[in-house]
Symmetry: C3
Subunit: 428 residues, 3 copies
């Protein structure tokens, strides 16, 4: 009974056309060109590396795409249990007519060629979006992205601010800021004006969000402008006393200024909380980050209180932080739950975390899912995974446990999948 019920709910949820509210798509090159773009996704390279494949084989300079795929396929056997592997198979089946349930050294080349032919079609990106029932995707744009040459109603700009908050000490980041804004930040006031100019630019191009990922020990607080100027001078001059305290003060000032600009420019501020960068030094590209799950949203108390006008869609890296997220969204009007991020983007964690949110957070304050993808082909299998789990939770915990009608459950699911994205990011 439950399985048919789940299928019925899934079918209705799956019929919906969605907006993907967080991706790393390049608007100028959104889809893949060969299967190497698919298998080069860090989920495959890092898992293959973790299972024993040398990094040098994966990241050999000038490696031919077909050879890269051949090598990776030969190392995917140890991963064929993972949900990430299932994304590959489902994508291959749905987009490239693949008929098997595993990609092997025997059958990969046919798949490679089928994908190559599809990907060569000029409207491939549009085909993928249509088949995936995705109407638009949020980007993750560098602060100095010109945001030109693409349709911003399909590829929606989003201002990513990690560099500003955490790497402003680097000369090249300052130079990029100066190039983008014409302002050389010699004081906190200058920095504020430069950041304002970035927001002005992004807003004029239709940006719908500001976003940042944050390490577990970050705790935002207001920093006085004079203190920020002192910190900025010390950090920029590379003075020997420009220690951690100055860097931290400058980070906090910049972060706080971003929140202030979100007020002024009416943008939600996506916070992605919990990542430690570069934990595994010898890892593959994008396969070096991990975390310390000992993080608490209490670190954001001052922020949430200071900015009631800003909506904070929040993602947490570890499932153990999910209850805090649900509780903070239950209490703070400006806190919204946002998707299932990275190491928590696997079925058992999604199922648990989603169920906890669905039953305790107002239905208007839950953004169900984003793909986090780098290439458009991944939206289909990732959203399919989420929709299956959503259908399962709605079936088991609403229709069965609480006696809801299927219509009511589907209506709730649709709001979480799409309605809230439109409203929270003010898409219209």
């Amino acid at each position: 009974m439950s399985q048919q019920l789940r299928q019925r709910l899934f079918d209705q949820l799956d019929a919906l056309v969605l907006i993907d509210p967080h991706t790393h798509i390049s608007a100028l090159d959104p889809a893949s060109h060969t299967l190497a773009d698919i298998l080069g996704y860090h989920y495959y390279t890092e898992l293959a590396h973790s299972a024993g494949m040398p990094r040098e084989e994966i990241e050999e300079p000038g490696l031919d795409p077909r050879e890269k795929v051949r090598r990776l396929i030969e190392n995917l056997g140890p991963l064929d249990n993972t949900i990430q592997y299932s994304w590959l198979v489902e994508m291959a089946q749905r987009l490239f007519g693949f008929a098997d349930d595993r990609v092997t050294p025997e059958n990969w080349e046919t798949l490679y060629d089928a994908a190559l032919a599809k990907m060569a079609q000029t409207d491939w990106a549009q085909q993928v979006l249509k088949t995936s029932r995705i109407e638009s995707v949020f980007l993750t744009n560098d602060f100095d992205d010109p945001l030109e040459g693409f349709d911003t109603s399909v590829y929606i700009p989003c201002l990513r601010t990690d560099d500003l908050v955490f790497h402003l000490a680097r000369p090249e980041v300052r130079q990029r800021l100066e190039n983008a804004t014409g302002i050389s930040p010699a004081s906190a006031g200058d920095l504020r004006r430069a950041i304002g100019a970035l927001f002005q630019h992004f807003k004029s191009k239709g940006a719908k969000a500001c976003a940042i990922s944050l390490p577990p020990d970050f705790a935002p607080s207001r920093v006085a402008e004079a203190r920020a100027t002192t910190a900025l001078e010390a950090v920029f001059e590379g003075r020997t006393d420009a220690g951690d305290a100055h860097r931290a003060a400058l980070s906090r000032f910049t972060f706080w200024t971003l929140a202030e600009m979100c007020v002024e420019f009416r943008l939600p501020f996506d916070l992605m909380i919990g990542v430690n960068r570069g934990v595994y030094e010898a890892g593959v590209h994008q396969g070096r980050d991990l975390y310390d799950s000992r993080v608490s949203l209490i670190q954001y108390k001052e922020l949430f209180n200071a900015f009631p006008q800003v909506t904070f869609p929040i993602s947490v890296l570890a499932s153990v932080t999910n209850q805090e997220l649900a509780s903070y969204a239950w209490i703070f009007p400006n806190v919204v739950t946002n998707g299932h991020w990275w190491y928590s983007n696997t079925p058992t964690f999604i199922e648990h975390d989603l169920a906890c949110r669905l039953e305790a957070v107002p239905r208007t304050k839950q953004i169900g899912y984003y793909s986090d993808m780098y290439k458009l082909e991944f939206a289909l299998p990732k959203f399919a995974m989420f929709k299956r789990i959503l259908a399962k939770v709605l079936a088991e915990r609403y229709v069965i446990d609480r006696g809801w009608s299927e219509e009511r459950a589907v209506e709730f699911g649709k709001q979480v999948l799409r309605g809230n994205v439109e409203r929270i990011f003010m898409m219209h």
Copy 2:
């Protein structure tokens, strides 16, 4: 099969008459007078506020109850997914003959009037208890409560001690202590005598427990009397050096003294661990508290070792602390698991936390549930929620997974629901 099994187990558990071992009921005014008393429960006001309803609309001074209900009902749509909303509907159906599955701007007034008529009956509180199959409820009494004018066999006194431990620095709290005991605490010895007098009074009125809620950073330890006197003098005199260290020492001394009195007066000491008060400053009444889930029961090591004669029924605010609670109850004879508190009182957390306790903690050391209610009408839907989950876990993890007979499962469930409450709080 499993659904019918769950129903059979539920029906048997539901037939039991229960004692509610933790509530905030006012013994002199235990039931609601209008639906505003129901909808004024912080779960509804804080969720409505979180979903966008201005605090001023909810907390307008002198607001008419009917108007308050009208306003809140208009703002409940965004919460109709929550388990808290389901409590309202189930209560309305079972106590007031409500026939719909949602309370809306169209149907609320009929419900309001039906409830008003019922609540006006002089024996309404007794009717609610009877329908809810609750025979008595524990109170949460201020330390200076006279405990007079009610039947202490139905409304069981419980000494709440947050003010003593955390707010003794406030002149009004000291004044209340002096008024209640006739002792002006000029020294640690005086304070101990005053606390002893409170216990004497409560015990003479049939109190069955001492209780306190604790912030996540609290770590009790023994404080020498001389040190406590120094702290007390500094804190009470408001001296400029009465900093955090003195306050913390006084808190720890008072807490430790409470535990000593629990030995002397043979009372269990309910610890409710993990809440941070006032995190959301602009929140509605009772909707401002949150938490930092980074808490450990290792902070209570010294306490548990020092007081083997005291039973500590322990509630934790975050589900991530539940495994520690189960493990500490598995090892320490004086640690008992107690209910599912506040932000962990939603089905997915209850199901996980309950299952973990049932299979690892001696059956005699688990207090299944308390309602934490402010008005009697909430016992029915809250206990119903718990009993459904208990039936589900017993069905799936005992009858199906472990081959238990239904009788054996029900017997276990009944012990957790009622038998342990009687024994642990020495009700007879």
Copy 3:
């Protein structure tokens, strides 16, 4: 449907002959002599004590085994809900022909005598292994164990190193080290040579792993040899300045040296992370340890990066650390998930933790289970518990949710149960 599916998967998994990769078996006395050896297991004594049985009744010196069993049986009623109790019953049924579902004051003596007769047979240990389908078990040997008098192909040596890392300050530990190696460690270099001699001895006797349990606050790092010599001198001379810093430095140096020896001798290094020893001072033997679940694998960042050649099978004590473990195993090639340890070795935690690992960690990097037993009789019920949960997760999350064939699911389960143990510990 699902229950029959689970049974079919279980039957196939259960047919496999296994290697138990972590136990506390004494190779010279591996099986029980009376039921007192079974009921003396700390899981029963500590739970009975927690439920109210005085320690003196359990640990009375010179207590007759039959009387000890009688006393414990009379105190098992409050535990008959626990999974630990179910191990006892399943073992009694499968090994001793017990026909009831509870061991009571009425039926225990028949069981006692039946067990006594079986245990008196000279080949009892072999019988138990055969019935349990266990072909060999890893030991937990003191560093000065002579490793003689037993078949090391069945009882596989494993070098346990807690004493070396945490108790080298004790004169008796140093004496044991000197006796075992002939080296009196007067410097860090001496200590390294002594440790090398231990590895040489263990390796020559067929040891397959080095192992240690670690407190939650331990964070390994490299310590310079000169610093280590200073620390060693201070600690060994018992100087008054041999404070925590010196002890910690010596611990870290010794630990790091063990990892270096694991490189040299090609041994995996089992890390069992999270235990606090002696939390409950008045507890029964082995029933005093608990934990602080606030631990992170980020504490092991330097270690994992420094020793890419060493495989670290890792067990975590608390389920809240399981996601970090899965994530670190997903990224670091040298991190492997290892079993379900102690307070996380109960069905609800196993089910959640296992599901998370199965779907995100390469299938080659997961060691499914070890028994941690002290007597051979426990392998059967403990592994049976795990195999039932494994069958449940494979049935629900692979065959049903992901459409896997039963054959594919069983093949995966077998790798996790046995194949990985052979490969990771280089058994051939």
